[in-house]
Symmetry: C2
Subunit: 477 residues, 2 copies
């Protein structure tokens, strides 16, 4: 049972919930409360402190909102890893993080193989910084409102890049730049529902798959149906049966299984979309830049053409950084008029300084060079990891898939102890990984039992040996 030292002063200037919040936050920052610690139940703590349950509840909610605690359904409140997100420098006489210590990740996690990370060491700081500085020194014009779809010059560069590298067929007038794919998906949902949201529709999403698109579509009043994945990606028969009007899909590189949809299946999807009015495919090309073996298949959008039934979505989260919020979507001409009607008065959500930095980065050819460099680095890392794993477990001891494109591998341990145990024992060795079954929103029974996902993007090459050794210890059979 956790020991808590909390002094509240009912006569104090601050309200009790604030005092309780301050005290708990302090203990988390100071390390008295540690990652994973379970806090007392609200009622029990309230009676212990002789305060109302509401007071404890408010303090807990504040701590959850601030990222100190995590609320787990039906089991209570747990302390999250405390990492102050303060950059260390940035001011003269810079402060350290609030508790006076350097920023140290929790000692428990030595290797974080979650997906969604990138290798920040590859970020082109020098060029990006130079462009940014030049723009700011000449930037008075960039302070004014820009085009609602994003600066025209950026959209010209994007159209050209998408045409050349992804076979997307579009005019800059069809491109909408926005602060992340999530934001754009939200707009799209409103657009497709008919702004005002009165048209009833449902969307098919991939299972297994990302859960965020589903959350966003459902938050925008579009219920989702799960459609299964086979060796060719999303199953068109299940799609037809689902009765969906929209289909969210990742054909270049299915997340998380890594399947690339073959061209015949793509044609089937396009036929599905054209078979009824109002059907659209939402093609998320989230990491197609990182194909290692050959040029990626052109996008579905390219097969459908600029008047087709495909909305193309792509992000710069992986190719630049997750914290630089730039994504874009390509709408078919048939939706542009409605787009203008619904969102004609909206401002663009991306700072024009960052839009223009990206434009000049694309225009100067820096982006393609940067991609080539990243692709090389990630490919090397992936191969090194795969080799080390095969050496440690034997070629028959594991099965690796998803090697042709990045930034994660699937690892199966035939006859292993089961996914849950694999994750737990890896965690005991300091390796944080996710299981494939986490990405099944329904029918988890279809998931292989011994399959985990290794996101290697933020791994350092020189750590690979140590990581594989830790996994071998965790899973030795």
């Amino acid at each position: 049972m956790l020991e808590l030292t909390i002094c509240l002063d009912p006569a104090g200037e601050k309200p009790l919930y604030q005092q309780l919040y301050d005290s708990l936050a302090e203990q988390i920052r100071g390390g008295t409360l540690r990652t994973g610690d379970k806090l007392p139940g609200k009622r029990s703590l309230a009676s212990q402190l002789a305060v109302a349950v509401n007071t404890v509840d408010t303090a807990y909610q504040m701590l959850v909102a601030e990222g100190y605690l995590e609320a787990r359904a039906k089991s209570g409140f747990f302390v999250l890893e405390y990492v102050d997100m303060l950059p260390q420098a940035g001011r003269s006489g810079a402060e350290k993080s609030r508790d006076g210590s350097e920023e140290v990740p929790s000692p428990a996690v030595r290797f974080d193989l979650s997906t969604g990370a990138v290798d920040t060491g590859l970020f082109p700081f020098r060029t990006w910084g130079r462009i940014q500085k030049e723009l700011l020194y000449n930037g008075e014009k960039l302070l004014h409102h820009g085009h609602r779809q994003g600066d025209r010059e950026l959209r010209r560069e994007l159209a050209e890049y998408l045409r050349a590298y992804r076979g997307v067929v579009c005019d800059p007038g069809q491109i909408v730049v926005g602060a992340g794919v999530e934001y754009l998906l939200g707009l799209l949902a409103q657009l497709l529902k008919g702004h005002g949201g009165f048209r009833e529709m449902t969307a098919a999403v991939e299972n297994p798959g990302y859960d965020r698109p589903r959350t966003i579509l459902e938050n925008n009043g579009i219920p989702c149906r799960c459609v299964g994945i086979d060796g060719g990606g999303l199953d068109p028969v299940e799609l037809e049966e689902s009765g969906a009007d929209l289909c969210y899909v990742t054909p270049s590189h299915h997340f998380p299984t890594g399947v690339t949809m073959p061209v015949g299946r793509r044609a089937q999807l396009l036929r599905w979309a054209s078979a009824k009015p109002g059907r659209y495919i939402l093609e998320d090309d989230y990491d197609a830049e990182f194909r290692f073996d050959m040029r990626p298949l052109p996008s579905l959008q390219g097969m459908a053409g600029p008047d087709g039934r495909v909305v193309y979505l792509c992000t710069f989260s992986k190719s630049l950084a997750p914290s630089i919020r730039i994504a874009c979507m390509v709408l078919p001409w048939g939706l542009m008029e409605e787009y203008g009607r619904a969102f004609g008065s909206y401002s663009n959500t991306v700072s024009r300084f960052e839009q223009q930095t990206l434009r000049l980065f694309l225009e100067g050819g820096y982006f393609t060079r940067h991609l080539a460099r990243m692709r090389g680095a990630y490919k090397g890392r992936m191969e090194q990891l795969a080799e080390a794993l095969e050496k440690a477990f034997g070629r028959d001891g594991i099965r690796l898939s998803g090697r042709h494109t990045g930034l994660h591998l699937l690892l199966e341990l035939p006859g292993g102890p089961g996914e849950k145990e694999m994750i737990a024992s890896a965690m005991r060795e300091g390796v944080k990984i996710k299981g494939l079954s986490e990405y099944y929103m329904e029918r988890k029974e279809l998931c292989g039992e011994n399959c985990v996902i290794l996101g290697y993007a933020s791994l350092r090459d020189e750590e690979i040996g140590e990581l594989v050794e830790a996994l071998r210890r965790a899973w030795r059979q």
Copy 2:
């Protein structure tokens, strides 16, 4: 009748609509087609060129999307003012705008008094640039995903600033940072409807008022009712009668009439909100920083407290620049849990580099100094303009209101020729202004007949004499 020279090549590589688009865009950029020119009807142009109506339609839609044309309901397509948004510099060997010329605003408009502009000459380029550069050089950590509500350190600074300057009572955990008030209003609409959007509700909006909040709420499935404004702001009797659940309001400085809501009326609004469960006030404090006569009244949110029924919204569009997309909202604790459920997996929409630049700008005290400087400059400009107007028209010849806060004045010309004629004759003298009636979404008959709005934020002090002279010529009686 407009003469068009268009050559299409049916055997050409580009599709016909693209050729037509290119040709028209070229003529607009080159000045052959001029601002305000009406294009031929689709059918007529199609038959003239011997192409399908669809071809013309697609080309016109592309031109609308690109900002070359404007579609006016029931009257056709008109050429918009062409201003290339390219910054001139930013690359070595920089290119000029596409048509080879310098960027020149249409010679017709000498003074643009639309609201929404800011004086970009006041932007703190040097400090902002220095902070940005320091952050980038130490910025590897800032490349990772940050907190979904915005970086914690930024939210601490915002909470402190809002407390000190706007009387907002909140914890950083209640603040959500986002890429513009529009984006945040959209999230809020989804949150209040219960994510999924099944709860039926309506919102009251101010009439006259901004139309964008109404557009956003309606796009998110919340129908709006217009509620009138009197000398104390939004009318609480009409609000009660409207049956609305939400009330969007600008109490510090009603847009566009400039009314500040007195404290008694504020209390009435808060009583309205507490009278039924599920009622919320959305307080938009869009330009309260620019109060010239005295310290602004504290926010409604401050009167209601951190658990009250007020969501507070504010933007940095006016105090920094419209193109730097940072705004924030303060949610009551009662909504935070639902916020976490609905948007727990969303990424924040503001680049962390800009978040941290703003944080250090606030933390270093630069922001309050910058505001003081802006306030001084705007106040001086407003007074100079008001004096010059009173001198030119005589104290009884015009009525000015909205002088205590920024960044626009209302000008009434008693016995004048009517708003439409005032706008048209000003335009003939090169002055672009808007009429008050444009902000009436309903019941335009309540609007005074001779009232226009003068946004003076981007005016140069030395131009004021010339501007007032132009208005005197336009409206001489």
